[in-house]
C-alpha cells in the first residue's frame, strides 16, 4: 500500500517540481486576458483643416454566449439580415469562454442599432458596441494622395513586429496612409484582466492607455481639387497644382479616381475587386506615378541644356523649312507645321514649338549632354517627395547598348531633343521643372505634409543660371501671349500665364496632351501641369483645361491674386 504512495510522490515531483514552470505558465495564460485598446488612428486634414481621412463610429452587434437564448435566433436573423446558421455558428464558437462576446455583425446602420437597443429586454445577451471604421469624407477627392488602409495580410503579419501589428490590424495600403502609417496609428494600449474559467472578468490587473495616432496636415486644398475634378471627368488625366510661394502641392487630381471608402467599408469587397481589376487603372496616381513620353514640353529641357552649355544663345536662329535633314540624301524629320516656321530664334521656337529648331539644337548638343541635363533636372529618377514617385526613363547611348543591345543613331538624338524617343516622364517631374523655371530654381521640391515631424531629405538645387530660366520664362510667356503661340487657348484675362505645351506621339492611339505653366508671369504664385492621356493636342485639350484651372484658382484665391 505504501508503494502506491511512493508512486503518487514521484508523480507529484514530476508534475510540480520538474514540470512546475510549464504549468505555472499555463495557469497564468489561463487566467489573464489581454484586451487590446485600439489607438484611434490620426486624422488627415487639408490645408484649411478640412478632414480628408478620419474614423467614424461603427455599430457592431455582439452576443454574449452565456446570456444568449437560442430561441431568439429566428428573430435576430430577421433583424440583422443574417442567416440563422451563421448566428448559431458564431455563438457556438465561443462555448468554452462563454462570457467573451462574439461579433455577430459589423457596421450595421444606425436604425438597425436603435432597433436592437429598443428590443434589448427581449434579446438576452445581445448588445451593440461602437467600434471605429476609417472613413474618407471627401471620397474621390485627394484619394490617390491620401490612399487607404486595409487588413494586414498573412505574410505581413509573419514579418512585422507582432507587438504593434496584430493579426486583425489595419495597415496603410497606399499613399499617405501607407507612408505615414507609424505616425497615424499611434500605440495601442491594453487592459490586463483576470478572468475566471467562464471568461467573466474578476478584476483589472493593469491598464495601459492607448496613445492616439498623430494627425497629419497636408498642403492640399480639397475645395480646389473638388472643383478641378469635374474638368477631367471621363478622361484619363492628371492635374497638378503647386503653390510656388510655399512649395506645397495644392491639388493632385488623377482620373479615373476611386472612392477609398470601398477599401474600408465592410460589404464593399466586390467594388474593391473591380477597382483593382479595372483596365482604366483608377488606382494609379497618374500625376505621381504615370509615365509617358513628354513630347514638346521636353523642349524646355533641351533649351536649358543648350543655353547652359553655351551651345546657343536665346538669339541663335535656325531656318525651319518644315523639315530637318542630316545630309542631302538622309530622310527628313518633319516639323509639326509642314509649311515651316522660317528663321526662328529660341523664343519663337518655344512659342510655336518648332521641331526643326530643336532638331538642330539636339544635333549640336549630342545625346550625351542632353541626357545628362535631363537627369540633372530630375528626369529619370524619383522626385524627392513624401510619397513614392515613378522614376521614368532618360535614354542615352549607354542605356541603349545595355538594355536594347543596339547602337544609338543620330536620328534618335534629334527626336530626343523634341521629347520623343524612349523618354518617359511623370507629370510631377514636369511640374518640378516648370516650378524651377518660374522661380529661378528656388522651388524645385514639392511638399505635401506641413507637420514639423515630417522631413524629407532635401535635394541639391538645379545648377542652372538665372539667365537661362529667364529666357525660358520669356519663351513660355510667348507660348500663351502670342497669337501664334501653341498655348494661346489658355490665355487669361486677369493675369499673364506662361506655359509650354506638349503633344506626345505614342502610337498606337492618339497623342498625349501636355500643358505645363505658371502664373502670374511677373510674380509666379502657381505652377501647374495638365496631362490628358490620349488627349490629342496639348495646346487644345490641356490648354483649355489649364485655363479653367486658373479661373477656378482665381475664384477661390482672388484676394491673394489681385
Amino acid at each position: 500500500m505504501l508503494s502506491t504512495l511512493i508512486v503518487l510522490g514521484v508523480g507529484l515531483f514530476q508534475t510540480q517540481v520538474i514540470r512546475g514552470g510549464h504549468y505555472r505558465k499555463a495557469s497564468e495564460q489561463n487566467r489573464i486576458r489581454l484586451i487590446r485598446l485600439e489607438a484611434p488612428r490620426g486624422n488627415i486634414f487639408d490645408r484649411s483643416g478640412n478632414l480628408i481621412a478620419t474614423s467614424r463610429p461603427a455599430y457592431n452587434v455582439y452576443a454574449v454566449p452565456e446570456d444568449f437564448d437560442p430561441r431568439d435566433i429566428p428573430n435576430l436573423s430577421q433583424l440583422l439580415d443574417l442567416p440563422e446558421d451563421q448566428i448559431r455558428f458564431r455563438v457556438s464558437q465561443a462555448r468554452f469562454a462563454s462570457f467573451t462576446p462574439v461579433l455577430l455583425k459589423q457596421d450595421v446602420s444606425k436604425e438597425m442599432a436603435m432597433q436592437i437597443e429598443e428590443r434589448r429586454p427581449e434579446l438576452a445577451g445581445i448588445f451593440i458596441q461602437i467600434g471605429m471604421i476609417r472613413t474618407y469624407p471627401q471620397k474621390e477627392v485627394a484619394a490617390h494622395i491620401v490612399g487607404y488602409i486595409g487588413k494586414i495580410s498573412r505574410e505581413e503579419y509573419a514579418t512585422l513586429d507582432p507587438s504593434i501589428y496584430r493579426y486583425d490590424t489595419w495597415i496603410g495600403r497606399s499613399g499617405i496612409e501607407r507612408v505615414f502609417d507609424t505616425y497615424l496609428r499611434g500605440e495601442d494600449g491594453g487592459r490586463q484582466l483576470e478572468v475566471n474559467a467562464r471568461g467573466a472578468p474578476i478584476r483589472l490587473l493593469g491598464e495601459v492607455q492607448p496613445r492616439p495616432g498623430s494627425d497629419l496636415h497636408l498642403t492640399l486644398d480639397t475645395k480646389l481639387e473638388a472643383r478641378l475634378r469635374p474638368l477631367v471627368v471621363n478622361k484619363r488625366s492628371a492635374i497638378l497644382v503647386l503653390n510656388l510661394k510655399s512649395g506645397g502641392l495644392l491639388a493632385a487630381v488623377s482620373t479615373p479616381g476611386f472612392d477609398p471608402n470601398a477599401f474600408v467599408t465592410p460589404g464593399r469587397s466586390s467594388e474593391r475587386l473591380s477597382l483593382m481589376g479595372s483596365k482604366e487603372r483608377p488606382l494609379l496616381d497618374r500625376g505621381l506615378n504615370g509615365l509617358y513620353p513628354p513630347g514638346s514640353i521636353f523642349k524646355l529641357v533641351t533649351a536649358v541644356a543648350a543655353l547652359e552649355t553655351g551651345t546657343i544663345t536665346p538669339h541663335t536662329t535656325f531656318e525651319c523649312p518644315g523639315y530637318f535633314r542630316f545630309g542631302p540624301k538622309s530622310r527628313p524629320f518633319k516639323c509639326w507645321f509642314s509649311e515651316g516656321h522660317g528663321r526662328v530664334d529660341l523664343y519663337t521656337a518655344l512659342e510655336r514649338s518648332c521641331n526643326v529648331y530643336f532638331y538642330n539644337v539636339g544635333r549640336l548638343l549630342g545625346e550625351k549632354r542632353l541626357a545628362d541635363y535631363a537627369k540633372k533636372l530630375g528626369f529619370g529618377s524619383e522626385v524627392p517627395f513624401e510619397l513614392p514617385t515613378a522614376d521614368g526613363l532618360v535614354p542615352d547611348a549607354e542605356w541603349k547598348k545595355n538594355i536594347r543591345h543596339d547602337k544609338w543613331y543620330p536620328g534618335e538624338t534629334v527626336t530626343l531633343a523634341i521629347g520623343q524617343s524612349y523618354l518617359l516622364v511623370s507629370p510631377l517631374q514636369i511640374l518640378r521643372l516648370v516650378a524651377a523655371v518660374a522661380t529661378d530654381g528656388r522651388v524645385f521640391q514639392p511638399k505635401l505634409v506641413t507637420d514639423d515631424f515630417v522631413s524629407i531629405k532635401s535635394e541639391k538645387k538645379f545648377s542652372v543660371r538665372t539667365e537661362t530660366f529667364k529666357a525660358l520664362r520669356q519663351g513660355m510667356l510667348q507660348v500663351v501671349a502670342s497669337d501664334k503661340g501653341t498655348g494661346q487657348l489658355a490665355r487669361l484675362s486677369f493675369t499673364k500665364l506662361a506655359a509650354k505645351t506638349g503633344t506626345a506621339q505614342a502610337p498606337p492611339g492618339e497623342a498625349h496632351a501636355w500643358f505645363g505653366g505658371f502664373f502670374p508671369y511677373d510674380d509666379p504664385e502657381i505652377a501647374m501641369v495638365v496631362f490628358v492621356e490620349r488627349g490629342k493636342s496639348g495646346g487644345i485639350t490641356s490648354g483649355q483645361i489649364a485655363k479653367k484651372v486658373a479661373h477656378i484658382y482665381h475664384d477661390l484665391y482672388s484676394p491673394q491674386v489681385s
Binding site: 505504501l2 504512495l5 508523480g11 508534475t15 510540480q16 517540481v17 510549464h22 505555472r24 495557469s27 474559467a197
Partner: protein
C-alpha cells in the same frame, strides 16, 4: 464521576486520533480557500461535521467493534434500502442524486454502504470456513458485494463503486480463498469489462478514454484533467500560498472543495505541502495495517483490512486523478474533501480501527 473520563479515554490509540484530526483540520483550511469566494460556507459546515465525526469516533470506541459486527447485517440492509431509495428519488427528480435529505442534512448513503459492506463481509466470511464449500461462500460473497456496488454505480458513482473491488479481493484473500478462485475471479472480472462498459454513462466512458489518451477531447472531458494538472503543477515546490491559487479560485478546476480538493493543496501549498499530506496519509495507512497485524480476532482482522484497503484505494485514486495517474471517477479524498457523510463515515471506520486496537487483548 471523576473516573469516567480516564476510563473512557483509556486504551485510545492516540496517533490515529492525532492524524485524523490533523487531516480534517488541513481539510477545513483547504475547503475554506476553495470556497470562500463562493456562496456556501463549506468550511464552517465541515467543522460541524468534524465535531459530529469526533463524537461518532469516540462513541464507536466505547461501544466496541464487536457490537457493530453483530449488527452488521442490519446496517447492510439499511444501507441497501437507502441506496434503492436514492435511486427511486433520482428517477422521480429526473436527475442524478447521491443523497437523501434528513431534515436539513444531506446524507449520502454510498459513503455508509462502503463501511456497512466491509462490516458485513468481515462478519459473513469469519462465520464460514475457508476449508469447506469455498465456492458457495465466494459466490454468496460476490452477490453480497455486487448488490451495493451496482446500486452505487447506478447513481452514477463510478469511483465509490470501484472501491468495493480491492476491498473484496483483499478480504477474501485474507479469509483464505484458493488461488484458483482468485484467478478465475480476476478473469471473470476482466471478461465482464465490456459489459460494465455499457453500463457506464457516456460521460464516464469518455473520462476513461481521456485517461488513456488525454488529447481525445481537450475542451470537453479532458478539460478537467488538464486544468487540475495545471493547478497542481503550477504550485511548484512551495505553492502559490493559501487563498492564492488562481486555478481553483477562478473555477478552472471544478469540484475543487470536494473531489478535486487535492488540486487546491497542490496549487496553494506546492510540492512540499502535497508531500507532507502524503506523509500523513502514509502514517495513517501504516497504523491501519499495524492494527490488522496486531489483532488476533479474525473478524477484527478482516474488518481492519477492509477499512485499510478502502481508505488506501481512495487516497490513491483521488490524488492520482488530479495529476493524471488515475482516471477521473469522482471519489472524495478521505478526511480532506468537503462532505459530511464521508467525514462521519471515515471517523466511524477509524473508530472501529481504534476499537480493534483497544480491545486487541480481550479474548
Amino acid at each position: 464521576m471523576t473516573s469516567i473520563v480516564p476510563r473512557f479515554l483509556k486504551g485510545i490509540y492516540w496517533p490515529i486520533v492525532f492524524l485524523t484530526v490533523l487531516l480534517t483540520v488541513v481539510g477545513i483550511i483547504t475547503i475554506y480557500s476553495a470556497s470562500f469566494r463562493g456562496s456556501g460556507d463549506y468550511a464552517s459546515k465541515q467543522l460541524v461535521w468534524f465535531l459530529l465525526g469526533l463524537c461518532v469516533f469516540f462513541m464507536t470506541i466505547s461501544v466496541g467493534y464487536r457490537s457493530f459486527l453483530n449488527l452488521s447485517y442490519l446496517f447492510y440492509a439499511i444501507t441497501i434500502v437507502l441506496l434503492i431509495w436514492v435511486l427511486i428519488l433520482s428517477e422521480a427528480r429526473s436527475g442524478a442524486q447521491r443523497w437523501i435529505m434528513i431534515g436539513s442534512f444531506a446524507v449520502q448513503p454510498s459513503e455508509f454502504s462502503k463501511i456497512a459492506t466491509v462490516l458485513m463481509l468481515a462478519n459473513f466470511l469469519s462465520n464460514r470456513s475457508a476449508i469447506q464449500h469455498q465456492k458457495r461462500t465466494l459466490i454468496a460473497t460476490l452477490v453480497l458485494v455486487g448488490v451495493p456496488a451496482i446500486l452505487v454505480l447506478k447513481q452514477p458513482d463510478l469511483g465509490s463503486a470501484l472501491v468495493f473491488t480491492p476491498v473484496l479481493v483483499a478480504m477474501i484473500f485474507l479469509w483464505g480463498a484458493k488461488l484458483r478462485y482468485l484467478i478465475s475471479l480476476f478473469l471473470a472480472g476482466a471478461a465482464s469489462l465490456p459489459l460494465v462498459w455499457h453500463v457506464l454513462k457516456p460521460y464516464q466512458q469518455k473520462r476513461l478514454l481521456v485517461f488513456i489518451n488525454p488529447s481525445i477531447d481537450p475542451i470537453g472531458a479532458s478539460y478537467t484533467a488538464i486544468q487540475s494538472k495545471i493547478a497542481v503543477g503550477s504550485g511548484g515546490l512551495l505553492g502559490k500560498g493559501w487563498l492564492q491559487g488562481t486555478q481553483t479560485q477562478l473555477d478552472f478546476v471544478p469540484e475543487h472543495h470536494t473531489d478535486f480538493i487535492f488540486s487546491v493543496i497542490g496549487e496553494e501549498f506546492g510540492f512540499l505541502g502535497a508531500i507532507f499530506l502524503l506523509f500523513l496519509f502514509g502514517l495513517l495507512i501504516i497504523y491501519a495495517f499495524r492494527i490488522v497485524d496486531h489483532t488476533t480476532d479474525f473478524r477484527a482482522r478482516l474488518l481492519a483490512l477492509g477499512i485499510a484497503m478502502a481508505f488506501s484505494f481512495q487516497i490513491f485514486v483521488n490524488i492520482g486523478m488530479t495529476i493524471g495517474l488515475a482516471p477521473i471517477t469522482g471519489l472524495p479524498l478521505p478526511f480532506i474533501s468537503y462532505g459530511g457523510s464521508a467525514l462521519v463515515a471515515n471517523f466511524f471506520a477509524f473508530g472501529l480501527l481504534a476499537s480493534i486496537y483497544k480491545e486487541r487483548s480481550i479474548f
